[in-house]
Symmetry: C2
């Protein structure tokens, strides 16, 4: 059993004025909301789910972004209803929320 | 192909004086060193490896800790030679460094 069955990282990076960044889209408040939802559902902690902040995840042009590991599924989101869907369908149910999913493939180098 | 082939998160959490925490063990400096090594090896970036800071990873009693996803392998480390080993053997070579590995299993709840 992995230490966390699913580990959700929210990018909360703040860039200079005018540059795209996740902090500008409520990342911190929505990360906090996701954590509270997981606690309320009784899935938060070792053996379950962890939700947490991260530094820049490196996908600023697609902000705001979050990633679920070990699945390696990347999401964007707008509001609490998007977070509800990620928590309930993916973190609890193991189902990828295709509507909010970002491409797996990195851009051509 | 996943966005990052391997994604290494360093816990850099700072807790109150006297409590165990990763920030006390040079996490920030050694994360920076790991990133520079990956850049020097030409593996840093989309399609390759990302090394970054994270908030508290929740394993304070085992500090300092870092985790490699999507593998879900947890490490502790002491110095630059440990970081070299994680970078060269795991991030480049895909081999788990058992010497530095933390248990997968969460503590009994």
């Amino acid at each position: 059993m992995p230490y966390y069955r699913r580990h959700l990282f929210f990018c909360e990076n703040q860039r200079e004025e005018g540059e795209p960044c996740c902090a500008r889209f409520g990342a911190s408040e929505l990360r906090q909301y996701a954590m509270e939802r997981c606690k309320a559902l009784g899935i938060f902690g070792p053996g379950g789910v962890r939700v947490q902040r991260a530094g820049c995840l490196g996908r600023c042009d697609e902000a705001p972004v979050a990633v679920v590991y070990p699945d390696g599924v990347w999401y964007t989101y707008v509001d609490r209803s998007d977070i509800d869907e990620i928590v309930e369908r993916h973190l609890v149910g193991g189902e990828v929320v295709e509507r909010l999913r970002l491409p797996d493939e990195p851009p051509a180098r």
